[in-house]
Amino acid sequence: MLFDQLPQFLLSGLTSGSIYALVAVGFCIIHNATGMVNFAQGEFVMLGAMIMISLTQDLGLSLPAAFVLSIAGAMLVGLFLERIPLGLARSRHILILVLITVGFSIAVRGAASLFWGKTARALTSFSSEAPLLLGNAVISRQALWILFLTMAAVTLLHVFFHRTPVGQAIRAVADNRRGAVLVGIPVARMVMVSFALSAALGATAGILIAPITGMHYSAGVMLGLKGFAAAILGGYGHVWGAVAGGLLLGVLESLAAGFISSAYKDALAFLILLCVLWVRPSGLFGQRTLKRV
């Protein structure tokens, strides 16, 4: 029966949902620090995975070393985006800044297609390909890696934002920018940290998913949009909401694919996005009106 497969659908939903969650949190961090939407977020996902594939397969680096270098590479691209294309237009209207991120993402995609070509490549799994049996559901080892590392990343992020001075300062910038300036927080530096952090999260997502779905120069677009939908679903700017939104979106997608048709899987994300925007623009956890006093 179809319902026997429910655990299976839930598991694969949580797996892709974890990826969406990581991307969504990246959207939130940049939004909180700057008030803008970074539409190049998906490119960090693609870059992280593509750099990782190059480093392990073309240069023969070990997984951990390549992982660290790929994340660092994506962070540098994030810092570049913040310093040069956005930095040069700092005083402009926010809409212009958002459009710059759209332009930047097109440029990155173009550069990626020139550098890596247009064919999809796969990353080798972190551990053996042999799947594990969980009750009557099957889970790949890579999916376990995804669930585990996403949880670890979100936990670390929580500790960073609540227990370290810099993390608290970034939240303070989001809460009251002028107040942050007045207590001596170097706001420009916090914005840089936010871009680097978002890029790192996006790249992590890409590296985690690449062994399952493969990666190519334009795969960041769809993953970015899914992450964006998840962030809206959770209440844009709300970090825990973004995590919940990502997981929920993944599960709903997986259930729709299983019980209705996988042809509509991608459409569902955008249907949800539209419904949230119509019915409850503040998302599941958003309280924007309360915050802006």
């Binding site: 001075p165 608290q168 300062a169 939240r171 303070a172 809460d175 009251n176 002028r178 107040g179 942050a180 300036v181 007045l182 207590v183 001596g184 927080i185 170097p186 706001v187 309360l290 915050k291 006093v293």
Partner: protein, 245 residues
């Protein structure tokens, strides 16, 4: 300590301040009185590096404030309790206090920060009972106390207060000014900007009066009280009665 000479400042190239000169000496409490729109906030924003002056000198402890980014000014010890308090509303009282000490972080100041916090919670016991509450849930008076406490967490050399009495009930205002008295006695240098001239003059050793972007009077509070024009404009007709009460 603070020296301002012939300062012109404003927004988008349009001057609001037309050549203001004033100074604050170490250990003094100085107040700056002025009506709405006189340019008080413009002056304070220039002090904290939020706007860049058009011309004139602005030095703190010998440093040229005009060239420093806002966070460096705080690190030097010029700390402001701004208009509308500028707290972090969705963060806890504890986090607001810790962020106040951001400028001191990582310089082997952990002990100093801890002592500072303990001293402040003694000064504002009500904050101690609310450490885990979000700042937005505090009453207006408590928020003002938190704003002052947060500024003091940076261990300022000069504390600048922008209308600490604004929008508060008389009893709360009294308490705020009582606190300022204590801080003053502890030797803190204070620049107090107020519309509430009565209360401000009472705690100050010197006063300046700002009107339409220019300083029109300065001197000892007693001398200002003796000035007919000042009395009419800032202290009101029932001033004398209030003062004696």
């Amino acid at each position: 300590m603070l020296r301002i000479r012939n300062l012109h400042a404003g927004y988008d190239g349009i001057a609001v301040l037309h050549g203001v000169s004033l100074h604050v000496n170490n250990g003094e409490t100085v107040c700056l009185v002025g009506a709405n729109g006189a340019g008080k906030s413009t002056l304070l924003q220039a002090l904290s590096g939020l706007i860049r002056p058009l011309s004139g000198e602005l030095t703190f402890e010998g440093y040229d404030v005009r060239r420093l980014p806002a966070h460096r000014i705080v690190e030097l010890g010029l700390v402001q309790v701004a208009e509308a308090r500028q707290l972090f509303p969705s963060m806890s009282v504890r986090e607001n206090l810790h962020l106040g000490a951001f400028a001191l972080r990582g310089r082997r100041n952990a002990v100093l920060i801890k002592e500072n916090k303990a001293r402040l919670l003694e000064l504002f016991p009500v904050l101690g009972q609310r450490l885990d509450q979000r700042a937005a849930t505090l009453s207006g008076g408590e928020q003002q106390m938190l704003a002052i406490a947060r500024a003091l967490m940076a261990a300022p050399r000069l504390l600048v207060l922008d209308e600490p009495s604004f929008g508060l009930a008389p009893l709360v205002v009294k308490e705020i000014f009582r606190t300022l008295d204590i801080l003053k006695e502890q030797g803190l240098t204070i620049l107090l900007v107020e519309q509430n001239a009565v209360a401000a003059l009472r705690v100050s050793q010197r006063a300046y009066v700002l009107q339409a972007g220019r300083l029109i009077l300065s001197g000892h509070p007693r001398d200002l009280e003796g000035d007919d024009e000042f009395r009419r404009a800032y202290l009101g007709r029932d001033y004398k009665a209030k003062w004696e009460r």
